[in-house]
Symmetry: C2
Subunit: 238 residues, 2 copies
């Protein structure tokens, strides 16, 4: 189908997906570019493909002006796709838990690293940035199609898993070097907000406080980097 009017109903619906509210209501989100489309196809999550070039395979063909309106990027892609959100799945042995992560780039980077290091499940607090925010999608480099992200009230969730999982939480003062920790099979790593860290009531749920040894000049690592190094350590120790 060919669309040439910026006022077309489909175009309006696609543009709405820039808002979290509309993504939540429709259960849909938008991705841009070939790499993401390829990853979404692997998981059968594509509803429809929109192209601004006749030569490419698509469900809808639109003008460059329409594509510019749909896209959130400075240089528009030739194809974008509308995807179904992933269904939540059962949680496995290695969990990354996110307490109020606000930076979309950090969230996306953590998803990418999680898949790289075999953490297929991420449990995020309700106040963590939306998984389907276009910057999260982009920074995840398509890995969001492979990860199981579940939203939970973290305190309740940690109470449920605390007998089964070793809950690791970073603390610069009382934390033990991650290298010196005996790791169990079932592990949950908790990463806190970029500015405030992990909330106090959640800190109380830790099985073990850990730290990544760093030079004194530097107060802390970027949240995405800290999460990645901890998951890397767990992956290489197994």
């Amino acid at each position: 189908m060919k669309i040439e009017s910026l006022q077309n109903t489909n175009v309006k619906e696609w543009c709405k997906l820039k808002n979290k509210k509309d993504r939540d209501q429709s259960g849909l989100f938008l991705i841009e570019g070939e790499h993401l489309i390829e990853e979404a196809q692997k998981q059968n999550l594509i509803k429809e493909i929109i192209s601004c070039e006749d030569t490419l395979d698509a469900d809808f063909y639109v003008t460059k002006d329409i594509m510019r309106k749909i896209s959130s990027q400075v240089s528009i892609s030739s194809r974008v796709a509308i995807c179904y959100k992933k269904k939540e799945e059962e949680i496995q042995n290695k969990i990354l838990i996110l307490d109020n992560i606000q930076d979309p780039g950090n969230f996306g980077t953590m998803i990418r690293s999680a898949i790289a290091f075999g953490f297929t499940d991420i449990v995020a607090s309700f106040d963590t940035v939306d998984l389907y925010n276009e910057k999260v999608v982009r920074a995840s480099e398509g890995m969001l199609f492979h990860v199981n992200v579940v939203r939970k009230e973290l305190l309740t969730f940690l109470e449920e898993i605390q007998n089964d999982y070793q809950i690791l939480l970073t603390d610069v003062k009382k934390g033990k070097n991650i290298k010196e920790i005996t790791l169990q099979d079932k592990i949950a790593i908790v990463i806190g907000n970029e500015g405030q860290g992990v909330r106090e009531e959640i800190k109380n749920m830790a099985s073990q406080f850990i730290k990544i040894p760093i030079q004194k000049t530097c107060e802390s690592l970027n949240a995405g980097v800290a999460a990645s190094i901890l998951m890397y350590e767990v992956a290489v120790r197994k």
Copy 2:
């Protein structure tokens, strides 16, 4: 001194510092917020402080409107400062080498991790994003005041150091697990562009190809994360 006009010459000069060209010409750059000001003060790099609140110490007091014009952030800070760029220093034993890094957030994150893991020198190609770009400054969390960033033509620089330094370069295919590498005292880690990786002619300069073992589903790590894990490995192995 109190400034109330948006047309004031100082205000115009400060706003110009948003452009790389003007930062290069003046040798100055602008930082926002108390944390960065504190870090800049430690290094004696502050030329003047500008405040939009009478109660705070400053060289210039300006209106909120002027501050909004100077600032690059959505929620303006109470104080910003004009800083002198750091002088280039002599290079030590551990170098992070950046070949055409384009994302300011990645560059800032790498600076933060470099200081965390004792890499006090960064050698960046001329096409790497500007160190004094406000997003780089912000993402570095003040660590840019502690790092020695030097711009070089990388090929020439690598030729100069190749007899003295172990030049480590990531390669997913032929790289050896970083854990299995014998590390020398003088180490240079080369990180390439986010999309294209390291240029071929620079690849030829490697003493050793390395890799961070990751799951097959994930093609690669974020450049900032990869750099951080490699520097972490070097730091903990010493």
